[in-house]
C-alpha cells in the first residue's frame, strides 16, 4: 500500500500558486495493476513524480514500504551523448545493482537494439529510446513499476514483450501506468484511479473506472 497523507502540491506561476493537490489523503492499494485516468493537466505525471520521489510535495508525506521504480517516461535519465551500454550501467550503479554484467545482458535481450546498443543514444530512432528506458526499468526487480506512456510508442512486437515481462512479474510486482489510450490501459491494468480536480477515486473494476472517466 502506498499511503498519501495530507499531500499539498502546487507550482508557482505568474498567476499565483497553481494547486494540483490540496490536503489530499488517499491509499493506493497494492496487488492491483492500476491505470491512472485523467484529462490533460489533471496532475497524472505530477502524482507519478511524487510517488517516485523525483519531486517532493509542498506539504504532507508519502509513506510506503514498497520499492518503486523511477517514473519511466520516454527517456528519463538517458544521456544522449552516451551509448546505450553506458546509460544502462549508469542506471544500474545509481540503483545499486549487484551484478552489472548480468543486468546489462538482460537489458540487451529486452531492448533488442542490436549493434546500436554501443552507439550514442542521439542516433536512436524515436521508438528506440523508450525501448531502452523501459528495458532498464524492467531489468530491475521493483515491487511497483511506474510507467508513463512508454509502451504506447513501441511497435506491436515491443508491446507484446513488455506485456509478457510485466505478466511474468505480476505475482510479485505491479504496475501503475498513465496513458491516454484506453486499449493500452485495458491491456496492462485491472483497476483504475480517476484523477479529477485534485481528487482521486479508486475503481476496483477497470471498465467502471473508464466509464466514469469518459463521463467526466
Amino acid at each position: 500500500m502506498i499511503k498519501l497523507e495530507n499531500i499539498t502540491k502546487y507550482y508557482p506561476s505568474r498567476l499565483g500558486k497553481q494547486y494540483i493537490f490540496k490536503n489530499l489523503s488517499f491509499d493506493i492499494p497494492s496487488g492491483h495493476n492500476i491505470g491512472i485516468l485523467g484529462s490533460n493537466g489533471a496532475g497524472k505525471s505530477t502524482l507519478f513524480r511524487l510517488l517516485a520521489g523525483s519531486e517532493y510535495p509542498n506539504g504532507g508525506k508519502i509513506i510506503t514500504d514498497l520499492s518503486l521504480s523511477w517514473p519511466v517516461a520516454l527517456a528519463t535519465g538517458i544521456h544522449h551523448q552516451m551509448t546505450g551500454r553506458e546509460n544502462t550501467r549508469f542506471i544500474a550503479r545509481v540503483n545499486g545493482i549487484a551484478d552489472l554484467d548480468e543486468y546489462e545482458r538482460r537489458v540487451i535481450k529486452f531492448a533488442d537494439l542490436g549493434k546500436k546498443f554501443d552507439l550514442p543514444v542521439k542516433s536512436y530512432s524515436s521508438g528506440m529510446k523508450p525501448r531502452l528506458a523501459f528495458a532498464c526499468s524492467i531489468g530491475i526487480d521493483f515491487d511497483v513499476y511506474l510507467i508513463d506512456e512508454v509502451t504506447s510508442v513501441g511497435d506491436a512486437n515491443f508491446r507484446k514483450k513488455a506485456k509478457e515481462a510485466l505478466l511474468e512479474r505480476s505475482e510479485k510486482a505491479n504496475v501503475i501506468m498513465v496513458s491516454h489510450e484506453m486499449n493500452e490501459i485495458r491491456q496492462f491494468c485491472d483497476s483504475a484511479i480517476v484523477l479529477n480536480k485534485g481528487e482521486l477515486t479508486f475503481y476496483n473494476d477497470l471498465e467502471q473506472g473508464i466509464a466514469q472517466y469518459q463521463a467526466l
Partner: protein, 275 residues
C-alpha cells in the same frame, strides 16, 4: 526477492539482485556513477583534455612574457613564470570549479528523477571532476617548468596544498549556493558570470598585493582568492613573504562559506527540484 545463494542463480529466470545499501553507500555509488558520466561526456569536442592544458599554458606564457618585459625575469624574488603560473592556475581553478559546480545542478536536472540522485551529489561529482582536471594541469605545468629550466622547489608544500584545497572548497561552496539559487531564478546564472569575471583582475593574478599602495589594501584583502594565491606564492618561495594575507582568514572564510551553503542546501533542495 533477494537471492544470495549462488546455486539458485543457475536457474534460467534469475532475478537482478538489488543490493541493500545504507545511506553512505548510496551516496558513494551515485557520486561515482555521476563522476564516470562526467568523465565520459565532459570532453566531447575534438580538443578533449588537451584544451584544458593548452589554454592555461598559453595564458601563463603570454602574461609572464608581458610582466617579464616590464619588470625583469624575477617578480618579488620569485621567477616571473612561477609567479604567473600560480596566479593563473589558481584563478582558473577557482572560476572553473565555481562555474562547473553551479552548472552541474542544472545539467543533471533530468537525473533527479532517480530518487537516489540529489543535487549535492551532482555538485560533488562535478567538483571532483574539476579537481581532477586541475591537478592534471598543475602536474603538466610543473613538467613544462622543469623542461624550460625553472628552479622547482617548494619551501612549504603543506601550505601550498592547504591553499589549493581551501580555494577549491570555497569554489564548491559558492557553486552550490549559486546552483540552488539558479533552480529558483534562472537569471542568477547570468549574474554569476558577471560577478565572477572581475575576480580575474582583483585576485592578485598578475600583480602582487605588494604592488598596491598600502592604503588601498582594504579594497582587495576581503577576497579569499587573493589570500590563497599570495599565500601559495609565499609557500613556494619563503622570500616572497606573506604580508597582508593570512591562512586564518582564508580558512575562516571557507568554513563560513561551507556552513552557509550546506545550510541553504539543507533547507531548500527539495523545493528547488520540485518546481
Amino acid at each position: 526477492m533477494r537471492l544470495n545463494n549462488s546455486h539458485i542463480l543457475y536457474e534460467s529466470q534469475i532475478m537482478t539482485t538489488v543490493l541493500k545499501r545504507n545511506k553512505w553507500e548510496i551516496w558513494r555509488d551515485v557520486i561515482f556513477a555521476l563522476f564516470a558520466r562526467e568523465i565520459r561526456t565532459g570532453f566531447n569536442d575534438k580538443f578533449g583534455l588537451s584544451w584544458a592544458i593548452i589554454n592555461p599554458v598559453i595564458f601563463i606564457s603570454v602574461l609572464s612574457f608581458i610582466r617579464g618585459s616590464l619588470g625583469g625575469p624575477e617578480t618579488h624574488t620569485i621567477p616571473t613564470f612561477t609567479f604567473m603560473a600560480i596566479g593563473i592556475l589558481y584563478i582558473q581553478s577557482f572560476l572553473q570549479t565555481l562555474g562547473g559546480s553551479a552548472r552541474s545542478i542544472n545539467q543533471n536536472k533530468a537525473l533527479f528523477a532517480f530518487r537516489q540522485v540529489q543535487p549535492l551529489s551532482a555538485v560533488l561529482a562535478g567538483a571532483l571532476f574539476s579537481l581532477l582536471i586541475k591537478i592534471t594541469v598543475i602536474i603538466v605545468t610543473i613538467i613544462i617548468m622543469y623542461f624550460i629550466g625553472i628552479e622547482l622547489n617548494i619551501s612549504n608544500p603543506l601550505l601550498f596544498l592547504a591553499c589549493f584545497i581551501l580555494l577549491w572548497l570555497s569554489a564548491v561552496a559558492l557553486g552550490l549556493i549559486f546552483g540552488i539559487a539558479e533552480l529558483f531564478v534562472k537569471e542568477i546564472g547570468k549574474v554569476r558570470e558577471l560577478v565572477s569575471r572581475p575576480m580575474f583582475f582583483i585576485s592578485a593574478t598578475f600583480f602582487s598585493l605588494q604592488d598596491i599602495p598600502r592604503q588601498y589594501w582594504s579594497f582587495l584583502d576581503w577576497n579569499p582568492v587573493l589570500h590563497a594565491i599570495e599565500l601559495s606564492r609565499s609557500a613556494v618561495y619563503s622570500t616572497y613573504g606573506s604580508e597582508g594575507v593570512s591562512l586564518e582568514y582564508l580558512s575562516g572564510t571557507v568554513l563560513v562559506l561551507c556552513f552557509f551553503s550546506l545550510a541553504t542546501y539543507h533547507i531548500c533542495w527539495k523545493q528547488a527540484i520540485s518546481r
